[in-house]
Structures are given as C-alpha cells and as structure tokens.
Symmetry: C2
Subunit: 222 residues, 2 copies
C-alpha cells in the first residue's frame, strides 16, 4: 500500500471564519465539488460508515475523503484499504477544523478532481459545530450506545446539521435507546433535520444515505 499522505494544517489567519467559509463554498460551487462535513462523537462509526458509503457510491460519483484527527493515520489508512482516495489531516491538537484548515486539506487532496469530498471532522460534539468549514451540507452521526439524550446535551450540533444518521441499529436490543425520543429531541433542536437509521456494520440503511447524498450533490451542481 502507498504511504498515507498526512497534512499538518495550521489554524486560520482569518478573523472572520464565516466570511472565509462562504468564500470557500463559492469556490467549491464553481469547481462543482460537493463538500460534506461529517461530525460525531469519537467512535460513533464515521469511518465504517464511509467505507460502506464508498462502495455504495462507486461508479456514481468521484469520491475523495479527508480524515481529520489530532493524531494517527488509522482512518485514512482504513479508507485506502478499500481503494478510496483519502488523505489524513492532523489538526495539531485543535478540536475542530475551520474553513481555512479545510481549504488546506482540499488543496492537498486536489478537490477539483472529485464530485464529492467528505470531510470526517474531529470526533467531538461541541467544537466542530461552532466552525463553518465551508461545506455544502453538515451531517452528524449518533450511535445507539451513546444514548438518545444527546440532542438535549449538545444543541448546536443538531441545529447545524441537515441530516442525522443514527448508527449501530444492529445493537438496539442491547441498549436502552428510544427511537421515538431521539427523533423528538433532534426535531426539538432543528425541526427541518432529516433522520435516517442505519447499521454501518450490517449495511442496513446505507442505500438511503447514499441516495440522500446523491440528491444533495445533484441539487448543488445544478
């Protein structure tokens, strides 16, 4: 296997991240690259879901992945093992990515070569929600073992996302997780949020997530 490209990104010099994110979004629109920002707690299953999605999207879109972490290259390596173009972004201890850090990653990846770039943000329900990365859409994953109360505790994460993916439905029987409550709590934070239940392990629900992404990417490039 090739060496994993690891890029150490620097925090933005721009005081106004929102304005910078809008500039990046405009640039991506002109490139016809759909950037999806994927957020969750540590261990909610972002990388496993991405591997499933990559297989589902194969032949339909040119996919590039940027894996962000404080340290290690295990996620980029996991994507490369299934033949997906992926780079690893190290944040130098930072708990999130801002728009300029995202831009540094996109430059290294060569975003113009891809129809869809998925940014796997740092595993964290607080800080990533506070910084617009320039992505066209934000998606959050909540895994069943974490419990259905997370929208109560981390409001901004649910307010800023267009799609909530509830992952690890294969272990629903082993946890006290209430599907109705998670829907109610997420809608309380964001009445427009869409919600899909999946198991990245078994593949259940993955076609629906792929369909959602294809629809959003098509609307973006129209």
């Amino acid at each position: 296997m090739d060496d994993i490209r690891v890029i150490e990104v620097k925090q933005s010099v721009f005081a106004d991240n929102d304005a910078d994110a809008n500039r990046l979004r405009q640039q991506l629109k002109e490139e016809k690259t759909f950037l999806l920002n994927l957020m969750s707690s540590p261990g909610a299953g972002k990388t496993t879901l991405l591997r499933r999605l990559a297989a589902e999207l194969e032949g339909k879109l040119r996919l590039g992945v940027m894996e962000a972490d404080i340290d290690s290259d295990v996620d980029a390596r996991a994507m490369r093992q299934v033949g997906v173009d992926a780079i690893q972004i190290h944040t130098g201890g930072m708990c999130h990515l801002d728009a300029d850090m995202t831009r540094q990653g996109l430059r290294e990846l060569g975003s113009a070569n891809y129809d869809l770039v998925i940014l796997e943000n740092v595993g964290n329900l607080v800080c990533p929600a506070e910084f617009d990365t320039g992505a066209a859409k934000n998606v959050t994953i909540l895994s069943v073992p974490e419990g259905h109360d997370k929208p109560l505790k981390y409001p901004l994460m649910y307010e800023t996302c267009q799609l909530l993916i509830v992952n690890k439905t294969d272990v629903l029987d082993y946890f006290d997780f209430d599907r109705d409550k998670v829907v109610a709590y997420a809608k309380m934070r964001n009445p427009d949020i869409e919600i899909l239940f999946v198991s990245a392990k078994t593949g259940e629900g993955i076609p629906q997530v792929a369909r959602w992404i294809l629809d959003q990417a098509e609307a973006w490039n129209r």
Copy 2:
C-alpha cells in the same frame, strides 16, 4: 423531587490556568476534599457509572457531584434520583471546564462539606484534557462500542489521566474490541496509567473502581 440547582459558570479571567489550578488544588487539600475529574466521550457512561459508584461508596465517604454540560440538567437529575447531592454546571457553550469554572461549581456545591467531589466534565476527548481543573486525579472512561483505537487518536486525554476505566464490558461480544490492544495503546501514551474493566450496567468491576478512589482519597488526606 427538589429543583435541580443549575449554575451558569463564566470562563476564567485568569491568564494562567495552570497556576490557578494549583491554587485550587492547595485549597482543596486544606479542606480535605478529594476532587476527581471524570472525562470521556459523550455517551461513554459517566453518569451510569457515577450512580453505581455512589451506591458502592455510601457510608464510606461524603460524596458530592458536579455535572457539567452545555445544556440540559438530565445528569444532575439522574444523580439526585438516587439520593446523591448533585448540581448541574452549564458551560455556556464551552467545550471544557477550567480551574475557575470548577471553583464556581465547588462554591455552589459547598465543597467543604464533602470528602469526595466528582466532577463529570463535558463529554469530549479533546478540550477537557487541555485544561487543569484543579482536581487531585483525572480519570477517563472509554466504552467498548467506541473501539480500542481511541488512545491513538486522542493522545493527551490518555497522557493526563491516572486511571482508564473501560466501560460496557457487557457488550464485548457484539463489538470488535480488542482488550489487549486498548491496554497496549493506553500504556503507549502513558506507561503509568492504571486500567480497570467494568460494566456500569451490570455492576461488574465497580467495587475495584470504588477501591481505587478510596485509596487515592486516603492518600490525599493523609
């Protein structure tokens, strides 16, 4: 049930949090209050573990709990349901607590009345590890569903903790979680870290955690 005391803490005015944390630690030492800082990802089981621990420690120590969250009072409420003195700390969107925020909580709780105060930090593997709260000891929980690779991705969390509690061992059969690997990775970050495997759900391993805390508190008050 009584109303839950919720305190909205303000970010520290002290430039040097480390110095402030040392001042707080000294004050707690004089009070003979052992402050334990409990950290983990969202949904790793901090509150469930605390409820079990409270039952195990009953009659041995006077226990007070401070539950920190961005929003909601579900955790303080859960503790009060089992008869534990608990207050809820809201961080005003902040992803962590610093020493002065912790001090504000201790003042509201009345720390001098307790032998042991457990601070349940914001669910986050990044930021809480960067800020010394003034606690005597730091403990992190990793739950089985999160995976054994977390010490590779969040180095500082494992470097700053004296005890790693691996929780949700009752679901080991349903996840690809390697006990030997998590031990090796955690020790790679911190050769002195102690590691205990528990299930807060079934109670397995809880007496060992209580023993660890009692020993540490005794050493602190000696």
